[in-house]
């Protein structure tokens, strides 16, 4: 089956200026991700993977180069247009969950569903991530794993075409990590959502359709995974 390119990254550069010297976080990144693909971006700390995710999700700016999602070059958009694009097309799972502490679990998910054009049902999503019974609690009353599920629920409820996950298992134990990964794969398959997952855990790459490796801001590997494992088969 021929699939369209959903995300196209061309010559992407990100430089952090720190006064005396400049730091190249990304050096001419070129990458194509297909629609419905489950792509894992691997790399050690400081390799630039989070920077890449932040630029792709439109919450940070690039120094040069372009990011095109579904035909729209988001790196050229102005603030308001970029916000509109994010609002409609991108779901983000943050590394540190970024839940709103003064809203309950259900309300945290509702925050995203409220602004989406074709949102999924909140209870359906909360049920899907296994925390429906916790929906009236505040985030501070949940464990890290549960909070990460809420963050995933908030990202997927928008029914966005692209789901970007920054170290979604970074703060979770093995069991919770596997649950979250199963969930992401399930969403990817059920809604044909393109998933871009950043992690430093190479084991997770085994469940991806595509594996991208970053080192010192450069792609050192970009290949189709021919032996895809299910989340249950992962071990670390």
């Amino acid at each position: 089956m021929n699939r369209n390119i959903l995300l196209k990254i061309s010559d992407l550069i990100k430089i952090y200026c720190s006064g005396e010297s400049d730091f190249y976080a990304l050096r001419k990144i070129n990458l194509d991700i297909l629609e419905g693909e489950f792509c894992v971006v691997l790399g050690p700390s400081g390799s630039g993977k989070s920077t890449l995710m932040n630029i792709v999700s439109g919450i940070d700016t690039a120094t040069s180069g372009s990011v095109t999602i579904m035909g729209t070059t988001i790196t050229g958009l102005k603030d308001n247009a970029l916000t509109e694009f994010r609002r409609e097309n991108i779901g983000i799972v943050f590394q540190f969950y970024n839940l709103i502490p003064s809203l309950t679990i259900k309300e945290n998910v509702e925050v995203a569903s409220h602004i989406a054009k074709n949102p999924l049902g909140i209870d359906e999503v909360l049920g899907g991530v296994g925390i429906l019974d916790q929906k009236n609690k505040f985030p501070s009353k949940l464990s890290g794993g549960q909070q990460q599920r809420v963050a995933i629920a908030r990202a997927i409820v928008k029914n966005a075409k692209l789901l970007i996950c920054d170290e979604p298992t970074g703060a979770l134990d093995f069991e919770n990590s596997i649950e979250v990964l199963k969930l992401l794969r399930d969403i990817n398959k059920r809604y044909n959502t393109t998933v871009l997952l950043v992690t430093h855990n190479s084991e997770i790459a085994k469940m991806a359709d595509r594996i991208v490796m970053l080192k010192n801001g450069e792609i050192t590997k970009n290949e189709q995974n021919l032996q895809i494992l299910s989340a249950d088969q992962l071990e670390w």
């Binding site: 919450i59 916000t83 994010r86 609002r87 943050f94 970024n98 709103i100 502490p101 509702e110």
Partner: protein, 762 residues
């Protein structure tokens, strides 16, 4: 938006002290503002309506001729119609007994008509109305009897007269004399007195300018003179001290009722803006999350503006309603001092708009621009907590504090890296100190008039000959000549007293208001009160229209503005008067006077009116400022409350912003006491500096307030804060700060390590 609203309400719930404190501040200032304005303006409007509805005459006077007849002969009464639009006779007599004077008036129908304020109109000849002020002072109720010249008078009600707002026997005496003077209104004055005086109450056609009125009055007087009459007790409406004193007092009441509440509101708004600003900085990661999810800038702006908008709206509406309901109680401060008509309390919707507008303009633009500024950052920057990141300033780099011990290093770093927060504490303490001192400071200033008076009047015994002018040298003491006049400066008119002084006079000592140099009386000097009321500056030329001297108008250049404390007085060299007098009458007198002042009691002055100026002025000032003192006390106490809330809010803010640091220190094993020291000590210097600075700032502010609230009065009150007041204010502020620190340190002990660290992560 429902969720964002919910979030706003929960934010309030989780930060109760700050938001409720700020709300209380807004409510309090709105209450004070509305209560004082509503009562002040209601009194003022009711008075204006009273003057119009009860036809306050333009002038009242009596006439005498050589035969000392009581009023005009019937054939001459047509003179009145030639000059006046409406004229009515009013009969009156003074009945004195045991040092108390009752002034009996006949009832008029067209001019200076009475208003029944309580009870019923008198029907039978032994029934009378009594002025409310006298009745209250002497504890007389309706249906009581009072003795009037040996007869029993039944009080059927209380009344008010438009020309007797202040119950005072002398029109120039601005003191309420209800202890010894009262008004009685009777439908049949013949029943009570065999003889009485006739006064004419006359009004000109409306719309005449003051110059045109002067022409009519002068021509009328000349016509009377031609017929062999002269006027006595001529009293124009604008010169009636019974009205002007009340007007000035009520204006001052309104002024003080506006300035201080607005100041408190500005303080509240300012602090609220700071709190919300800090809250916003603390919430940047949440704002960034919303932004990253796809919330538009507009939506986030509306969300972050909602909270202050809610507080401002709620505070001003609730405060406005409470203030309105309290306005009759606040009005009592004024009502009890005058014999006012019935007051109709009308709420002016503009009040709420004004107070809302002030708070709105002070808070919302700050929040708007802070939010907008934050949203200019990419969401990622916000999520990383851009505003909370500590920066090493150039000062810190230059200070080279690395070699110091940890505690000192932390103390210095805390100050340098959290300068904004410390600045808030500093400003909070400045404002608190000012608020704490303001009430007592104003009272100090008023009490200090006593000193000012004694510095001005070196001779306290004053003997006045009134209209009985004296020539030649006075036997003992010093003399001067005093006369009434109207002064015009660019169309502004003011009733003043001209005081012609001998060049070397020592009895009244004054100084140039600006240079503080002592004044000798070779120059013309206007009191600061005159300068203020007429908006006159040194070098301006004013026109003096004589009311007690037979001279044409004088054009005079103001040479000095003096610090004379009480009265709209213009001091002139007596030589000028003597020259003019000799020119006018072709005489050759070398001295003229009608007042003698001395530092000792004088003998042989039985024909004069004696005044102990110290007693008189202090009684006058007591009455002038009596109402204001009550107003100041109400506001001063509110200010103390505001100051306490303010300090507490600021300390709470410091604690909240340091929760993460506290948790970390506790995690490292620091004891609560050590954590307290590290977190809270940095503020001490700023708190102390703030308090110290509050003193000079308050002195300036009190000067400004006093200037504004004495605008309508002829009294100069210099700002003065006694060391006791300063000490009390500092002690209260210090105690509140200490208690807030104590509460904060108890809270520090309760900060759960895990939760604080977890919340910071989020």
């Amino acid at each position: 938006m429902k969720l964002l609203l919910l979030k706003s309400f929960r934010t309030i719930r989780f930060n109760k002290i700050r938001y409720l404190g700020a709300l209380v501040l807004i409510i309090l200032s709105s209450v004070l503002f509305t209560a004082f304005r509503t009562s002040g303006y209601s009194i003022q409007k009711s008075l204006d309506d009273f003057f119009t509805a009860n036809c306050l005459a333009d002038v009242s006077f009596e006439v005498v001729n050589a035969q000392k007849t009581n009023g005009l002969d019937p054939q001459d009464k047509n003179i009145l119609e030639q000059y006046f639009d409406t004229v009515e006779e009013r009969y009156y007599t003074d009945i004195k007994k045991d040092g108390v004077t009752l002034r009996l008036f006949s009832i008029t129908k067209n001019q200076n008509t009475y208003q029944l304020t309580k009870g019923n109109d008198p029907k039978n000849q032994n029934e009378v109305l009594l002025d409310h002020s006298f009745a209250k002072y002497h504890n007389i109720a309706i249906n009581d009897y009072i003795a009037v010249d040996g007869k029993e008078a039944l009080i059927t009600g209380f009344f008010a007269l438009p020309d007797y707002i202040t119950i005072s026997s002398q029109e120039n005496n601005i003191i309420n004399d209800s202890d010894v003077f009262g008004l009685v209104l009777t439908p049949n004055i013949d029943y009570w007195a065999l003889s009485y005086k006739t006064e004419y109450l006359a009004s000109l056609q409306s719309g005449l300018q003051i110059e045109q009125k002067e022409d009519v009055f002068n021509n009328f007087k000349k016509t009377l003179e031609q017929k062999g009459y002269s006027t006595v007790n001529w009293l124009e409406r604008e010169l009636n001290g019974r009205i002007t004193a009340a007007d000035g007092d009520i204006s001052g009441f309104i002024e003080i009722g506006q300035i201080l509440p607005v100041f408190i509101l500005l303080v509240a708004s300012f602090m609220l803006a700071i709190i919300l600003n800090r809250q916003l900085i603390g919430e940047e990661n949440i704002m960034g999350t919303f932004y990253a999810i796809g919330y538009r800038k507009r939506e986030l702006l509306v969300h972050y503006m909602f909270l202050p908008f809610l507080l401002v709206s709620l505070g001003t509406i609730v405060g406005g309603l409470i203030g309105f309901s309290l306005s009759p109680a606040v009005a009592l401060i004024e009502i009890t001092r005058y014999n006012l008509p019935l007051i109709a309390y009308t709420y002016n919707p503009l009040d709420i708009l004004i107070i809302f507008g002030i708070a709105f303009l002070a808070i919302l633009p700050v929040i708007f621009f802070v939010t907008l500024h934050a949203l200019r950052q990419p969401p990622l920057e916000l999520m990383r907590g851009r505003g909370r990141r500590a920066k090493v300033s150039k000062i810190e780099k230059a200070a080279k504090i690395d070699k110091l011990n940890f505690r000192t290093k932390f103390f210095i770093r805390d100050i340098l890296r959290n300068f904004g927060r410390h600045l808030i504490l500093f400003l909070g303490m400045v404002i608190s100190g000012m608020l704490l001192m303001i009430g007592l400071g104003i009272l100090d200033s008023i009490n200090n008039i006593d000193t000012d008076i004694k510095n001005t009047f070196r001779y306290q015994h004053i003997y006045s000959y009134g209209a009985d002018i004296q020539y030649g040298s006075s036997i003992n003491g010093e003399d001067y000549f005093e006369s009434a006049a109207l002064v015009n400066n660019n169309g502004n008119y003011l009733k003043t007293s001209l005081r012609f002084m001998n060049k070397d006079s020592l009895g009244i000592v004054q100084h140039d208001k600006k240079t503080k140099k002592a004044i000798d009386y070779s120059k013309m000097a206007v009191s600061y009160s005159v300068a203020k009321h007429l908006n006159v500056k040194q070098g301006d030329t004013i026109t003096i229209i004589h009311k007690g001297l037979p001279f044409d108008d004088w054009e005079y250049k103001v040479e000095v503005i003096s610090d004379y404390v009480l009265g709209d007085v213009i001091f002139l060299p007596k030589d000028k008067l003597i020259n003019e007098y000799n020119t006018q009458y072709g005489s050759d007198i070398d001295n003229i006077y009608n007042v003698v002042i001395s530092d000792q009691l004088l003998d042989g002055m039985e024909n004069t009116n004696y005044t102990d100026i110290y007693d008189y002025l202090m009684k006058t000032i007591d009455q002038i400022t009596g109402a204001l003192v009550a107003a100041i006390l109400i506001i001063g106490l509110s200010a103390v409350l505001v100051a306490i809330i303010l300090v507490h809010i600021v300390v709470d803010l410091i604690l909240e912003e340091n929760k993460y640091n506290i948790a970390l220190f506790k995690m490292f094993g620091y004891s609560s006491r050590k954590v307290n020291g590290l977190i809270l000590n940095g503020g001490i210097l700023f708190a102390a500096a703030g308090l110290i600075l509050s003193y000079p700032l308050d002195l300036w502010f009190i000067g400004y307030i006093l200037n504004r609230f004495t605008q309508g009065m002829n009294v100069l009150v210099n700002p003065f804060i006694s060391w006791i007041t300063a000490l009390i204010a500092f002690a209260v502020a210090g105690t509140v700060y200490g208690l807030s620190r104590l509460l904060a340190s108890k809270k520090i002990a309760k900060v759960p390590i895990g939760e604080a660290l977890k919340n910071n992560e989020q």
